[in-house]
Symmetry: C2
Subunit: 527 residues, 2 copies
């Protein structure tokens, strides 16, 4: 049952008087539950509990953290229909998507559980002493990764489960040994509360300290601002708009003690179509891309908002095939009236730009909150001159840029802002474009060959992140087990007695993990 | 020969009219060479060349980068007496230190050469495709670390070689595949120019692109400011004061595209002396610490500026032993009149604080620019109340805080700012202080048992960095091979053709490196 209250550690609390409701965009009505925004006092209490919890949680063994994470996954599954229904009511997304996203969320939690249970992720490194070394003896040094402290996670509007309350950021931070305070996303506060209840249940069942997790309701920017400024908060995870992410980054970097913010933000995910790729017809490609552009009503961070190619008759044919395919797809619902409002307004602003042509705009009547997908086109010169055209239109919208030649195509790529992904559509010609591929690589975090950017596989080799503004720190990924690196710092022990070392660094290697010992990777004990 | 010119890529250049000289603090006179500060045009040219060089340098093989780094080391050694003499003339440090630091610099360069020649440092990771997976096929994903782009390095005043022109930051960035622009430290501009000439010679000999390295003279903040704001600069390394490092961090985070700054800044390196450690006399400990406090005239970042212990007769004995020992040590020269000026003024300001007692101040006449070492003491309550007492006095100065009890000691530790190191001096009692050790660990990057914090071993298990303000990002170390991680970002290839992949990710593993293949670390090929 949804209470509308915050979780301040294990306890539900609703001391505030600012309330709000979520919205069902499919039915175009408000949902019933009333959510009570966290007060300043509740925020401080959540951070205080997180700081206290950190003292013990940072030392909890990998095995126990794995049990906690797996129990969270179990408790999320146990929410069953209540969770799926709430997800759909608060997002307008279909049931299949809700279940798929739940599956992804559970998979992420279990992946991190496996990682910390195995234990080698701490990058244990040991350099043994050389007391006889000249001119100075060499001390014994041992290093491992330790958690950074309480982490604040801002849930994403577009992934109510996988990138929200118990999503990638939370799972990674809890796996690292960091308590988490979630600033719940107001558009799916009920989904958030249900997931929070699962986390709290799991924390209680597995004996985790009170404060290891809190969930704070918030309808505006005040709760998030107070959290990011709080001196006991040590890092921030965010998924959302450039404006929102940048605001948090600025707050965090202006603190007396600046803290890291990993914000995964906007991206138009350029797709480069090389000439030969279109020579044998373009219907299949058009169909594939119409699907990718409209997937999840265009609300994926990896949505292909920009297609780049060299002017030709075959390109003209591709554009009209894409236009045909996209109107064949029935419009679907966006997440919230605010999101559809922004979509329509950004789209209007974009198509009013000089030189931009609408190739296809879904013109039939569509239901309220349903997005009319659109394809536009522009020539390379105009695109280069008008950087407004480089901005994201969040939704099922894409722009085909018709370049004069390879040089212009390459120049355009090099002038793009940082992106999550870049895609190359090619026949057998890619080897002829090393500079173009190099320019693309320099602007993105992941490049795809003859595929679509949508679909972010959860695996160790995935990078979800990229040069700013795709993310605020391109040195980290937001997806996959390596995303744990955002919330840890290296720490070294010098000449520390064996019995006082953490298990990961003890001579006898009791956890049987892989370690770098005197520059050699091994699972051996130290004799 | 020192020309006083900048290196803009491989070419010497001196277009400016702002000039300055370095200073010999031992003789208290200016050195002869005249240095010409880089102009705005020269700065832009250096960044432009670095950006162009990045296009090819980022793809240079590990083997060739290793040759480049080793040749830099060779060329530095070939500078021979000219370098040693210039180092001493510009720093007031003795010849033995100059040679020791040169050895460390060469060792660092060769360590990175070994690392990139072996090649596994890129953390190659491969997840092969599963085309039959349900409900969706799994794509082939392959990841590695790639260089971030041109890096600006600010040399440290206190390490004219090891943390300056070809020091740890530069060596790590060049190893990563990033061109480097050094903002030369004005106090040792001649040393900087000589080392720069060695790097340029090595770049030319080994066929590295023009612009892979530049060295810019600068006497104030203008050159550095322009560099950090330049849109084509992608990261910054700095070693120095909190004020300087924070100013650069603020500039970098206020850019339209924020960039990472790794600044290693101030630290007072707390040393906790547990009661039993003093029970068998404290003369040896006092002697050891007098040596550590005065090492390099107290100009090491890991200088122990704060000793914490619980009030007792044995502590009183230790303090007076330390006072005796420290005046036995002959005063030595500081780096520059500005540094000795700051030392004397900060020391005066510190000893004028209410409740602080000077236990020992070197009162004999000392030579100009030579530092009078000092030991002070204060009680725990006063220290807690006055945060001015927590600040660093850069030089041979230390403060002993006499705490009421273990609780107060622990409270003081928890209230300290972030530190590079923390040290525990104990007999057989450490197991009785888990909370205290935990609090210490939470404030530092490295903890030392029964030793001194000075002396930073260059090895994989070293962490030189720590919570702010010890550094601006505790997630990285500035010393050791892992410091390369500051200048790289993960990058992934999805379904990319084998022949177009970098060697590190090709099926046949031509570099024979260790890779994570389908979650298993192996050197095997992929069949």
């Amino acid at each position: 049952m949804i209470t509308g209250q915050n979780y301040i550690g294990n306890k539900q609390s609703a001391k505030g008087n600012k309330t709000y409701k979520t919205f069902n965009p499919q039915l175009n009505i408000e949902n019933e539950s009333i959510f009570v925004e966290a007060t300043s006092e509740e925020i401080n209490e959540a951070v205080h509990l997180a700081s206290e919890a950190f003292k013990t949680y940072r030392k909890v063994s990998g095995e126990k953290k794995a049990l906690f994470l797996n129990t969270i996954a179990d408790e999320i599954l146990a929410l069953d229909e209540a969770l799926i229904q709430t997800f759909c009511m608060e997002s307008g997304l279909p049931e299949g998507r809700a279940k798929g996203e739940r599956g992804r969320t559970v998979f992420q939690l279990r992946s991190f559980a496996d990682l910390v249970k195995e234990g080698s992720w701490v990058e244990a490194s040991i350099d043994t002493a050389q007391p006889e070394r000249e001119p100075l003896p060499k001390p014994d040094l041992r290093k491992l990764l330790i958690p950074i402290g309480p982490v604040v996670v801002f849930g994403a509007s577009n992934f109510p489960l996988a990138y929200s309350t118990a999503g990638g950021d939370t799972a990674a931070a809890l796996a690292a040994g960091c308590p988490v305070i979630v600033k719940s996303h107001p558009m799916h506060a009920g989904t958030g509360e249900l997931v929070a209840s699962a986390i709290i249940k799991a924390a209680e069942k597995t004996g985790m300290p009170n404060g290891v997790f809190s969930n704070l309701n918030s309808s505006g920017i005040d709760v998030g601002t107070q959290l990011v400024k709080h001196p006991d908060v040590k890092a921030v995870g965010f998924t959302g708009s450039i404006r929102g992410g940048r605001a948090l980054y600025d707050l965090a970097s202006q603190r007396q003690e600046p803290i890291p913010v990993f914000a995964e933000m906007g991206s138009i995910n350029p797709v480069i179509i090389l000439p030969n790729a279109l020579k044998n017809g373009s219907e299949d490609l058009a169909k594939t891309y119409a699907g990718s552009i409209t997937l999840g009503t265009g609300q994926f961070c990896t949505n292909p908002g920009l297609l780049l190619a060299i002017k030709s008759d075959t390109l003209t044919q591709f554009i009209s095939a894409l236009a045909n395919e996209i109107v064949k797809i029935e419009p679907t619902c966006m997440l919230h009236p605010n999101i559809i409002g922004a979509y329509e307004s950004n789209k209007s602003k974009m198509v009013s730009q000089k030189g931009l042509t609408i190739v296809s705009d879904f013109e039939n009547n569509v239901k309220t909150n349903f997005a009319r997908q659109a394809i536009t086109t522009v020539d390379g010169e105009t695109f280069l001159e008008n950087t407004h055209l480089h901005q994201e239109v969040f939704g099922p919208f894409s722009m085909v840029v018709q370049c004069e030649d390879t040089n212009q195509l390459e120049l355009i790529i090099s002038k793009l802002e940082g992106q999550l992904t870049g895609t190359l559509i090619a026949d057998d010609e890619a080897t002829n474009y090393p500079k173009l591929i190099s320019a693309l690589q320099n602007r993105v975090g992941r490049i795809i060959y003859n595929g679509v950017p949508t679909g972010v596989e959860v695996c160790p080799s995935m990078v979800h992140g990229g040069p700013y503004p795709a993310s605020t720190d391109s040195r980290f990924t937001a997806v996959g087990i390596n995303s744990i690196k955002r919330w840890v710092r290296p720490f070294s022990y010098q000449d520390w007695p064996n019995e006082l070392l953490p298990d990961e660094l003890k001579n006898e290697n009791p956890l049987d993990i892989s370690r770098l010992v005197n520059n050699k990777q091994t699972q051996n004990k130290i004799s």
